[in-house]
């Protein structure tokens, strides 16, 4: 008998909005402002890419929305609403929003097996029950890990980067959260593995109606996966538009610079 006290993940919610978010450095928030009055909307079944140079506040935005800001930073203002209803950030974590990060190796406990991680995830969500194994295997199959019996007893060091990122995605799926924050999910992976992970995310968005906030610095990843693009410059949102518009008619100088540098890699130029 499991203590299934947690509410089932709501499947009806369609929009996650971050409103008026301001994050500053310093324990009292008196330091430099890292994210300034940022408002974003992640919709189910769509991928919103958050782009900008390193240090522009992309990851800070994700962390602030989930209440996981690192020590020495503070959210000074901002709310998160789920279909209009305000939610405390900590209540979203895992239940409404699953997270995958860059460098999956460091996200796993090195002395615990994959099975331990999966069971811990289920227990934390109050979903640990007699059907735990079946849930885990189903999530792994959906993430493209076909041999759960072989993989579950493994530790992180025994697996490749691509397999670990699939396992991270499987753990994210276990929660059946309607939204996914993916912070540079393919940055450390080799190009072939990257392509497969992006294919997988695209399939999950289509099949599960997952709403994805995709943090990346690679406009190629944006072109491949995003429906909408938000551009950050020193913590400020400078442009937010559908992906075609951003690539074909970027308005802000920073967006133009990002797109033309990206196109230059292909020997293409941005129309003036």
């Amino acid at each position: 008998m499991s203590l299934n006290l947690a509410p089932k993940p709501a499947s009806a919610s369609g929009t996650l909005s971050i409103e008026g978010l301001t994050v500053a450095a310093g324990r009292d928030g008196a330091g430099p402002v890292l994210v300034r009055d940022l408002t974003l909307e992640v919709r189910r079944g769509r991928v919103l890419a958050l782009v900008g140079a390193s240090g522009s506040g992309k990851s800070m935005t994700c962390m602030a929305a989930l209440g996981t800001l690192p020590p020495g930073t503070r959210a000074l203002s901002g709310r998160v609403r789920l279909d209009g209803a305000e939610c405390p950030p900590a209540s979203l974590r895992g239940r409404q929003v699953a997270t995958i990060l860059q460098n999956p190796r460091s996200a796993f406990n090195p002395v615990r097996t994959m099975r331990d991680h999966a069971l811990e995830t289920l227990a934390a969500l109050g979903l640990a029950g007699p059907d735990a194994d079946a849930r885990i295997e189903a999530a792994m199959a959906e993430a493209g890990l076909d041999e759960p019996a072989r993989i579950l007893p493994l530790h992180a060091f025994e697996m490749s980067g691509g397999m670990l990122q699939r396992m991270m995605i499987a753990l994210a799926l276990l929660a059946e959260a309607p939204f996914l924050f993916a912070d540079e999910p393919t940055t450390d992976l080799d190009l072939v593995v990257q392509a497969r992970i992006l294919d997988l995310l695209e399939r999950l968005v289509a099949a599960r109606g997952l709403g994805v906030l995709l943090v990346t610095h690679d406009m190629g990843v944006v072109a491949r996966l995003a429906d909408d693009v938000a551009v950050l410059d020193h913590g400020r949102l400078v442009e937010c538009a559908p992906v075609e518009e951003v690539f074909h008619a970027p308005r802000h100088p920073l967006t133009r610079m990002l797109v033309s540098a990206h196109l230059a890699l292909y020997g293409l130029e941005l129309a003036p």
Binding site: D146, R203, G220, E244, L258, L265
Partner: protein
């Protein structure tokens, strides 16, 4: 003229731990390759295919278990003192991990001047002038010179490493994924810089990467590796020439330049 040449080189790594010797892993298995003066060769392959090992053998950081590496026709193992000095000056390498490739206690000036001290006969004022010249060449402000590596950004530090490699006026620079962790606009700027330098000074480049987007604009010739072996060599950088499954797999993984209007959901086998 052939600058550097590998003939059937092999390299095996064996891990050793407290509980004994682990299984041997062959990183390179009979690889041959040559780079001529002034050309740019792209060495492609997925993670773990042995391309970095090959780069390390070519610049003498490691010795092959089998086969030979020759510099200007002479095997490395048989170079005399002056031959070795010339090899060290003329073949330079830039690594992927810039912070790990510099001494954190050296300022930028000393980092760039270090090969000048060891490999050239320049005196101190001439070295200082050369450092200023190199900083300008890689488009870094002279004000960076007294800073420590921890005080500059990752992109700036990678350009410092490129300046250091160019300092002794090498004949060949080996770039091992040297731009892949920079922001995209910095990658493009760095490649444009290298291309300009190449046109001006005629140095050869061996460009190790897994990102095919960079190849077509930058290389004269392409070599593809898979599981420790060279599986394809083309005389051009045109990606349309590639035929081997390993090459096609890399090519298929290239991200699109522009968003596709209609998304197609592909189902790809797990791997």
């Amino acid at each position: 003229m052939t600058l550097i040449r590998a003939d059937g080189v092999s390299r095996t790594y064996r891990s050793t731990s407290l509980v004994g010797t682990g299984a041997a892993r062959t990183a390179l298995d009979g690889v041959s390759l040559s780079v001529a003066a002034g050309e740019t060769v792209a060495l492609l392959g997925r993670s773990g295919c042995g391309k970095s090992t090959l780069a390390r053998l070519l610049c003498g950081l490691e010795r092959p278990d089998g086969g030979t590496v020759s510099f200007r026709g002479a095997p490395l193992a048989r170079l005399d003192r002056s031959g070795l000095h010339r090899f060290r000056r003329e073949v330079q390498m830039v690594f992927q991990d810039a912070p790990g490739a510099v001494d954190p206690r050296f300022d930028i000036r000393s980092i760039i001047a270090e090969p000048l001290r060891h490999l050239t006969s320049l005196d101190a004022p001439a070295r200082a002038r050369r450092v200023d010249e190199l900083l300008e060449m890689v488009e870094l402000p002279a004000s960076l010179a007294p800073m420590l590596p921890s005080q500059v950004s990752g992109g700036q530090l990678q350009r410092v490493c490129i300046a250091r490699a160019l300092a002794p006026e090498p004949a060949l620079v080996i770039l091992d994924e040297a731009v892949s962790n920079l922001d995209l606009h910095l990658q493009a700027a760095t490649l444009a810089l290298l291309k300009r330098l190449q046109q001006a000074s005629g140095i050869a480049c061996l460009f190790v990467t897994h990102d095919l987007r960079l190849v077509e604009r930058f290389a004269d010739r392409t070599i593809v590796m898979q599981r420790g072996q060279v599986v394809e060599e083309t005389g051009t950088s045109a990606l349309s020439e590639l035929r081997h499954p390993a090459s096609l797999e890399l090519k298929a993984a290239i991200l699109p330049p522009l968003p596709a209007r209609v998304r197609t959901v592909k189902v790809v086998a797990a791997g």
